[in-house]
Symmetry: C2
Subunit: 107 residues, 2 copies
DNA sequence: TCCTTATATAGATAAGTTTCTATATACATT
DNA sequence: AATGTATATAGAAACTTATCTATATAAGGA
């Protein structure tokens, strides 16, 4: 029981940072490599690396390596429906109070 | 845009602590005064007071004073549907992966 | 083989969070 | 009025987090 509060808190905590919310938002348009993601932010490459680790550690994001590049994407398969729903809340353009996605152009 | 990530992160952050998840879980059974809430936890009264402040500051919980007592309840009216849904995820016994609520008895 | 490039890791620092003890506030009761 | 009780606030300690710089790793191309 206690354990469930802990586990859920960990996943929710991973989403409780503005930069990581934005990363989730960006990845909702499809996979991106680290260097592309980095262009959306003012922080450094190691900081992005840290954020991606947090998102991967709790299963929200997965990584596919190809040569020098790391391609990140939302790990929908691994996310339980609760987290998926929250991600949709944040990323779904049409049904979104926060309008976070409105300034992104998905290709 | 930036602002929305910040605002959403603040609300999500308020829910990213195991103790506060449990408080939300307990309040899903109905309003409780601080001293009743406190019995579920091992921390002190000022610590509970801190957690309630965090939950109230972002609008998840509201407080009704009656004499010496402070009655806390989930502020469903003020919560937008996104947050409500996440609270349901955590608190709804029948449709809940986390099963957080299973050990609570609502009267 | 050497250099460049993409990403990860190590370690430090500054800021934020959770918790505590001590104390204040404010209402109730005697 | 004095005392007791429920809650809030202040301030400090311990821990965690976000960020940085410097460096390591590992793959590709000259």
């Amino acid at each position: 029981m206690e354990k469930n509060y802990e586990d859920n808190a960990k996943i929710i905590k991973a989403m409780s940072d503005p930069s990581r919310l934005r990363i989730i938002d960006i990845l909702s348009c499809g996979q991106k490599c680290a260097c592309d993601l980095l262009e959306y932010f003012n922080f450094t490459q190691p900081t992005l690396s840290h954020h991606m680790k947090v998102l991967m550690d709790c299963g929200i994001v997965e990584c596919k390596k190809d040569g020098l590049w790391s391609y990140y994407s939302l790990n929908n398969a691994n996310c339980n429906k609760h987290i998926l729903f929250l991600m949709n809340l944040i990323t779904d353009k049409d049904d979104c109070i926060c309008k976070v996605k409105s300034n992104l152009e998905c290709k």
